[in-house]
Each structure stands twice: as structure tokens, then as C-alpha cells.
Amino acid sequence: MIKSSKEQFSLIYDQYIEKIYRFIYLKVDSQETAEDITSKVFLKGLEAYQKDQEINNPGAFLYQIARNTIIDHYRENDRTKKISTEFTGEIVDPKTNLYEKAVLNESIETTKLAIQNLKKDYQDVIIWHYLEDMPIAEIAEILNKPVGTVRVMIHRGLKSLKDELIQQA
């Protein structure tokens, strides 16, 4: 039986929710923000899917939306920060520390921080290749770059991550 586009996309949600959440969580400061952005990513994905947009690779499609939504978040955050520092001062989200202390052990937190200090493109290729086991050809497709270039980026990214971790130790 042929499933509706909503039903089809709900299966894609089941398959990718963990990966997309993890990708976003590694790039933002709190669980709450990661949840908020992840929901937005799937909502945007569903809207595009329902408009009969051709999606050959749901993973690449969702990661692309996630990257753009994270950029939007930081742009928005920059604007908010300017206002808040001027009028109300820095707002600290206590949930961030609570979550990170409770759930993530020290080693994970250290690696996360090291990844966040990498160049944005290096962050992406390291997460996709070494954490999500994505083949280099697929990463090249998402980034619209030649396979050779991606291979070099992975190599350099791993070296930068190593330097970051040694520096933190």
C-alpha cells in the first residue's frame, strides 16, 4: 500500500531524529536549543517534502536544512545578544550546565568543546565521517565539493581536533 507523504516522512523522522539532534547538539550550547532547532529542521523538511520537492537523499537533505537553521539561529542569537547585553546583561541558562553535568561525562564534554572550536567545515566532515559513518562520496555530495577535497578536509579536521584536545589536556 502506498503511504501518504506525511507517513513516509514520519519514517524518515524515525530514522534520522538521533543523527540530526546529535549534529545540532554538538554545535549549540544547550539541550533546549538543540531540541528547538531539531524540531524546526523536521518541520521545514516536511513542508518541502509535501511540496513534492524531489528528495533523493533524505540524510543530505536534512543535514543541509540543519546547517542553514543553525546559521539562522546564530544570526538571530547575535541580534538578541546585542540587545540583551545593552539592556539586561548576559542571561545564563542553568539547564545547560545541569544537563551537561548530569548526562555527559567529562570525556564527551571535552570532545564536544574541541569540535566546537574547529572551523565550521571541519566540524561537519568530522561529525559525518567519524561519528555518523558517512561515506566520503556522500559528504562530497552534501558539500558540493570534489571527493578529493573532502578527503583533505577530513584529514586536516582530524589533525586540528587532535591539536585542540592536546591543548585542552
Binding site: Q8, Q15, E35, F42, N56, I126, L158, L161
Partner: protein
């Protein structure tokens, strides 16, 4: 720091997962009521019919019929097995059959997840227990592979869980473990390819399926599973 150690640290990040209650809530907010929810609601609605007389006697009739069939089945069973004790045993084993299958699947998958998690902890905190942890995870992987071989239907049910939870098997480069992991993916892939060969696919799905079969020939079993799940999500 060796590259292997660095990759292990990255793979540890697989422990980052969304909260289950949030994932469910978010899904319901995005997709609204799905088909199964609607079915549940319809069933509830029938239960609280506006015509209580009809509902009451309707249900009584159904219960009477069920009771009648139950008595007949009991009598047949008693005649066949000859004693009350035997009847009890046979009814019990029949009743527990579906839940045993499901429990078997869950216990095998859970065992694998647990042992994978243990491997991470041991590598970090108790390196002296590393060999034992590897052995345990290998056994768990083999058990799941055997369970799928015995009941091929399990392949489809566990595929997503095995893939999504990653099982962390790729973290440690141990030949024996890699072999066990490959055997598990291969068994799942084989069964799912067999199922897909008897399924009508769209042109789009046929292309992915052909890619999956090529990758299977190249023994890239983990990537094959990813492709198959992609095909299933489009059905």
C-alpha cells in the same frame, strides 16, 4: 594521541541522544495524529456509543460468542490431551507464543546495546576487562544473528534499531568483533534484500535497490542496510 584513540573519542559522542519523551512529543507536534492514533480514537468512540442499549447488548453478544468459542476450544483440548494438567500446559504455551517472539527480539537487541555500552565504559575505566567485554559483545552479536537466521521476520524489525543505535561496534578495531558485526549486518541485509525482491518498487526505489545489491557484492554491509532503510522509508 593516536588516530585510533581520537576516533574512539569521537565515536563516544554517539551516547548523545535526544530525550525519548521529547522525540515523541515533537513527532506528534510535527505530524499530528497518525493513522494508528485515529484507529484508537475510533475504537474508543465505538465503546462510548450514543445508543447505550445497542452498545450493551452488542457487547454482551460478542462476549457470549467469545465465551462459547473458548469453551469449545477447551473441550477439544481436553479431549485431545486427556488430562487437566496437559490442557493447562498447552494453553499456556500457545498463549505465550507471540510475546516470546517479541521478547526474544527485544532481549537480543537490548543485550547488544547493553554490551556495546559496557565496552565503552570498560575501555575508559577498566582496560583490564577489555578482552572480556569484547567477548561478551561478540556473543551478543552472534546471538542476534542466530535469532534472525531462525526467524527471518526479525530482520526487518531489528534493522532500524541496529543501525540507529550504531551498536558502537565500529569503535574498536578488533578483527573478531568486526567479523561478528559484519555477519550481523550481512544476515539482516540478505533477508531484507530477499523481501524487497518480491516487492513492487518505484523507479526511484529500484535505483537505490540496485545500488544496495552492488554494495552487498562489495561486502559493504553497513552501508547496504542504510540504503535498504531508505527504500523502506519511501514505501
Amino acid at each position: 594521541m593516536e588516530d585510533q584513540e581520537l576516533i574512539f573519542k569521537i565515536q563516544q559522542l554517539k551516547q548523545i541522544k535526544p530525550r525519548k519523551d521529547w522525540a515523541v512529543l515533537s513527532k506528534s507536534q510535527i505530524f499530528g495524529n497518525n493513522i494508528s492514533d485515529v484507529k484508537v480514537n475510533k475504537a474508543l468512540h465505538t465503546g462510548f456509543s450514543l445508543n447505550p442499549f445497542k452498545a450493551y447488548f452488542g457487547r454482551r453478544l460478542v462476549y457470549s460468542l467469545a465465551a462459547f468459542l473458548f469453551i469449545i476450544a477447551g473441550l477439544v483440548g481436553f479431549m485431545k490431551y486427556g488430562s487437566f494438567q496437559d490442557v493447562k500446559v498447552s494453553q499456556k504455551s500457545i498463549a505465550s507464543l507471540p510475546s516470546t517472539e517479541s521478547a526474544l527480539k527485544n532481549s537480543n537487541v537490548e543485550e547488544l546495546k547493553l554490551k556495546s555500552q559496557n565496552l565503552i565504559n570498560v575501555t575508559k575505566n577498566k582496560p583490564q576487562d577489555f578482552a572480556l567485554a569484547i567477548k561478551e559483545i561478540k556473543t551478543a552479536t552472534n546471538n542476534l544473528t542466530e535469532a534472525i537466521k531462525n526467524d527471518p521476520k526479525l530482520a526487518g524489525e531489528v534493522a532500524m534499531e541496529v543501525k540507529n543505535n550504531g551498536t558502537l561496534l565500529s569503535v574498536v578495531s578488533e578483527t573478531e568483533l568486526e567479523q561478528a558485526s559484519d555477519a550481523l549486518y550481512k544476515t539482516i541485509d540478505e533477508q531484507m534484500i530477499k523481501d524487497l525482491e518480491t516487492t513492487t518498487l518505484t523507479e526511484d526505489q529500484k535505483i537505490i535497490f540496485s545500488e544496495a545489491k552492488d554494495l552487498f557484492e562489495q561486502a559493504k554491509y553497513s552501508v547496504v542496510l542504510e540504503k535498504i532503510l531508505l527504500i523502506n522509508s519511501r514505501q
